[in-house]
Amino acid sequence: MLVVGDPVEGATRRIPYATCDEGGRDAKTRLGTLSPWQRTLYLDADTRVRADVRAGFEILADGWDVVTVPSKCHGSDWLWHVGGEERAATESEMGGRLLTLGGGVLWWDRNERTAALWAAWRAEWARWQGQDQGALMRACVANPCRIWLLSRAWNGGPCIEHRFGAARARR
């Protein structure tokens, strides 16, 4: 297990990272280059793993680039937590309210498609430097990858619990 930033008990590797923003998204959106592994599972600090996560790695090994979970923010809740200006720009640039993915649980394989995705995610996040989900959506749409979707059980459900915002609240 790799941790970026503050020390965490149980981590086998650590990359020191001066925190630049409250949500740690400056570090998060650099993970495409920070991760030392061919296949990585990223987990937000406020997640708790309750099931065997090898399924995601097996799917990557079968040839998928990214394994992740659709966001629960759709319909009238679409990107509700993202700033109004960014939300409006995202809808305008996409031509509509396309599907948003949750960036808090993400398996990925290192290859040229995911390298482009990570670089775009970083660049899109840098435009507003707020939440990362709108940036992930814009980056995903413009950088096609082989994405296999899991259900909410894997991000905010029985397999991977997500205590949204709890890590920040304890700081």
């Binding site: 759709h74 031509g95 509509g96 599907l99 749409v141 413009a142 096609p144 899991l150």
Partner: protein
């Protein structure tokens, strides 16, 4: 002006008789102020206005017989033909559409443009955020699917509306899908197995890319 309803809407006909119109229905609204009010109040979408022209080479392949061209296809000025099989892709970007459910026209135009602008092979709406792959089909069908895709706690796709770019990957996909279906079983599970086998660049669309109510 063509509008697509996204909420039920009651119209009083000239004879004074009220008629209820359902989400997904197309309305030809001549009065601009009335059209603007319907849009502003969240009852309808302007399917063509503000969306620019329909991207070239896009059309609808209707699965099964078609008595008349649906209003939404006319309003968007899309090509349309009836096809017998899921492996017929008559356009550069084909909407393979089962005429049971009308699409959300705004999502449709956004998806067409995304497909033309980027290298996505296909785009398909998720069927449900709650009902999962493990909740459909027979036990045998699910077991066959699980053996391939590792976990059934995943969303499955709405095969009533597929945006398919015509290329070797999608030809392989629809061929594999047809092969998976040849033994019977659930169409959506067969699609999931074909998808997992071929691994196209698939853009997942939100559930509301398809109107929820049957036409």
């Amino acid at each position: 002006m063509w509008l697509q309803l996204i909420k039920p809407y009651r119209i009083v006909e000239p004879g004074g008789r009220p008629t209820m119109h359902e989400p997904g229905e197309m309305l030809a609204v001549k009065n601009k102020d009335e059209a603007k009010k319907l849009i502003r109040d969240g009852f309808a979408l302007d399917v063509a206005g503000g969306q620019g022209s329909t991207p070239e080479g896009c059309g609808v392949a209707v699965r099964g017989p078609l008595d008349r061209t649906p209003h939404w296809i006319e309003a968007l000025d899309l090509g349309c033909q009836s096809v017998k099989g899921i492996d017929e892709l008559p356009y550069a970007v084909t909407i393979l559409w089962h005429p049971k459910y009308p699409p959300n026209c705004l999502q449709l135009m956004a998806t067409f443009k995304t497909m033309r602008a980027y290298a996505w092979d296909l785009a398909v709406p998720i069927k449900s955020y709650a009902k999962l792959t493990g909740d459909i089909g027979t036990e045998a069908d699910r077991a066959k699917t699980l053996a391939l895709i590792h976990d059934l706690r995943i969303p499955y796709y709405n095969t009533h509306l597929l945006f398919v770019k015509r290329n070797d990957i999608t030809k392989a996909l629809v061929h594999t899908w047809r092969k998976e279906l040849s033994g019977g079983g659930d169409e959506c599970l067969a699609f999931m197995r074909a998808l997992y086998t071929i691994k196209p660049l698939i853009l997942a669309l939100p559930v509301d890319a398809v109107q929820h109510r049957a036409a």
